[in-house]
Symmetry: C2
Subunit: 368 residues, 2 copies
């Protein structure tokens, strides 16, 4: 397993005593040198789902040494699994196995698995080690970086959770070979987001390379993941608990969460809703006089090129959006707080959007 492909890029997320590495590259999953250094003790529980288990669980087990007490827990796939009841299953399994505070949880799967397992680790015996092994592009560029963990509540997404950092993140780019195209597009939404909020050069590179990315070109994917993780790591290092600049990562998310909440979690993929939400944010930014029509057109074009929806659900009226957005946890003391674009490559936090401007955007935005 130690062939010559096996020299990953490594980013360090700088968080003082909670700093951790992100290894990115092909062939990492079955190679013991990447997992072993990050285990807290001998007790290891791998948590994955029914889709990922047959594809990658055996290979991950190869990457664990022999002198370990390894348990596996396979949960159902899908956003509906991202609930407190699943976290309780993890805790029950840990206690049934007699696992102590020096155990390590490994999250093998997409963002749902990563968020849930991270939260289970954050609260098991007041916090144990965990390692993220994200197998979707979305998880690789977003939810495996930054320490946000949690589950959904019937009244809202990610309402219950904790900030809890992994010991390490292993991004094995080989796992993207089995990713459905729709999920690849959902991951690309977050990649495009990094360009829109912070890096105009990266955005231009993405405009050129989008066909290669959708065609699973390994070099292009590796560079896109690296740059995305690097931009997110910079932001997270500046603002670990989302008091300031980190909020910019939520571009498109307030609109997107409203779509997900209204449609029922899992019917729209998170990245799809964020893609449409970013276009809504861009159009609102134009109504506030910040983006030109040409910049909105570029935004629409790259979201389309990524294979993402350009219209909101036909069943969602203006009031549906407003009611859900007002509950969003990013709204402090009932002021609607949105992430908008000053220009392409520069986002801002805005809590003074006139209601009539927002309403006009919500009325005019296409439905399908």
């Amino acid at each position: 397993m130690s062939d010559s492909r096996n020299t990953p890029s490594t980013l360090e997320v700088a968080l003082g005593s909670r700093s951790y590495p992100i290894h990115i590259g092909p062939g990492l999953l079955g190679d013991p040198q990447w997992l072993s250094p990050h285990l807290a003790g001998r007790q290891v529980m791998v948590v994955t789902n029914e889709t990922v288990a047959p594809l990658y669980l055996a290979r991950l087990r190869q990457g664990l040494g022999d002198d370990l007490e390894v348990r596996e827990l396979v949960l159902p796939d899908g956003e509906a699994t991202k609930a407190l009841a699943s976290v309780e299953r993890i805790w029950d399994a840990l206690l049934a196995a007699g696992f102590n505070r020096r155990c390590t949880l490994i999250a093998l799967g997409g963002g749902v698995i990563g968020d849930m397992v991270g939260f289970a680790a954050a609260c098991y015996q007041r916090g144990v080690a965990f390692v993220q092994v994200p197998t979707t592009l979305l998880a690789q560029v977003d939810s495996s970086v930054g320490g946000k963990t949690g589950v959904n509540h019937p009244r809202g997404k990610n309402m219950i959770g904790a900030f809890w950092q992994p010991r390490a993140v292993l991004v094995d780019t080989d796992t993207l070979a089995t990713l459905p195209p729709r999920e690849l597009s959902a991951g690309l939404a977050e990649v495009v987001k990094y360009g829109l909020i912070r890096d105009a050069d990266f955005l231009a590179w993405l405009e050129a390379e989008m066909p290669a990315l959708r065609g699973l070109d390994a070099a292009a994917l590796t560079r896109a993941i690296e740059r995305s993780c690097s931009l997110k790591a910079e932001i997270v290092a500046e603002d670990e608990t989302e008091q300031g600049v980190r909020a910019l990562l939520n571009l498109g998310h307030t609109f997107g969460h409203a779509i997900e909440a209204h449609q029922g979690y899992g019917n729209w993929l998170h990245g799809e809703a964020v893609g449409t939400g970013m276009l809504m944010a861009a159009e609102l930014s134009a109504r506030l006089g910040w983006l030109s029509d040409a910049e909105v057109a570029r935004t629409r074009a790259i979201i389309a090129a990524a294979g993402l929806p350009l219209a909101a659900p036909a069943s969602m009226g203006v009031e549906d959006f407003l009611a859900i957005m007002r509950l969003d946890k990013k709204n402090l003391d009932s002021r609607l707080r949105l992430i908008l674009l000053r220009t392409l490559g520069e986002a801002c936090i805005h809590d003074a959007t006139p209601t009539e401007t927002l309403t006009a955007l919500l009325e005019a935005f296409p439905r399908r």
Copy 2:
């Protein structure tokens, strides 16, 4: 409300950006100057229980300003309430009220309320502010200081939780007037613990003042609470997440948790189990050659003077203790890790107790 009694002592728990004050004194509960500075925003939820609500909820409401959105949640009393289901009730109430990330939870009650509300705050929208208003001696000297929050699991005490610091702790010594004598003794167990593990002078002072403490002498209680919080604050500041010295605070707790778990939580009070557990730890320390018979006798005498049990439950055999203690979360990688006494006023972490020595102690220790 601002009479001359109202000049509390204030300790600062030094934890960098998470530092917080502990105000101790009479008459704090109804005085707005103590609560108001610690609220994160306008949304406030007071969580208490059915015993405490009729006694102190109205007085606490007086201590909240008028310009707030205040909700109340009254839970059943008792250790059985300290479960994930209760935390879910808090989260449901917060979401039903539309409370956002800038809300504040106030825990009004004993250790169960404090631990649960702290955990609810730790995980609501990945962490919101909370203030502890402990109304039992145990909570005042122990569970309101140090940021340990959590709930019990059917397989073990405090298995699910988080480290989460309050914004402030308000100890109104007037609330002890309504505390049942048995609960006062349970709180004194933790007070005695601080003397045993770290402060021989304080232990000697307690030997002299125990009758005054049990007679609710206000000055003696205030001094005992201050010194206990101060000792605990010192230890927590040295070791926030229990990697080292903080473990010393668990003197008597591994034995005590075994008693509580075997008897069913709530049948023995936590402090009662810790009292008996400290005597077991002292006797084991003597068997290891560290304490003299006279020191064990002093330990037994002060535990008795505090009104605490000197014998373990008749129904608990040696194997019952061993089986539960091995699951205790303080045991790393299956080594039994105990807090013992080198001398009175100095505790140590010991993970090399010979099984036969422990077994002999468990066989010889009195039952009732």
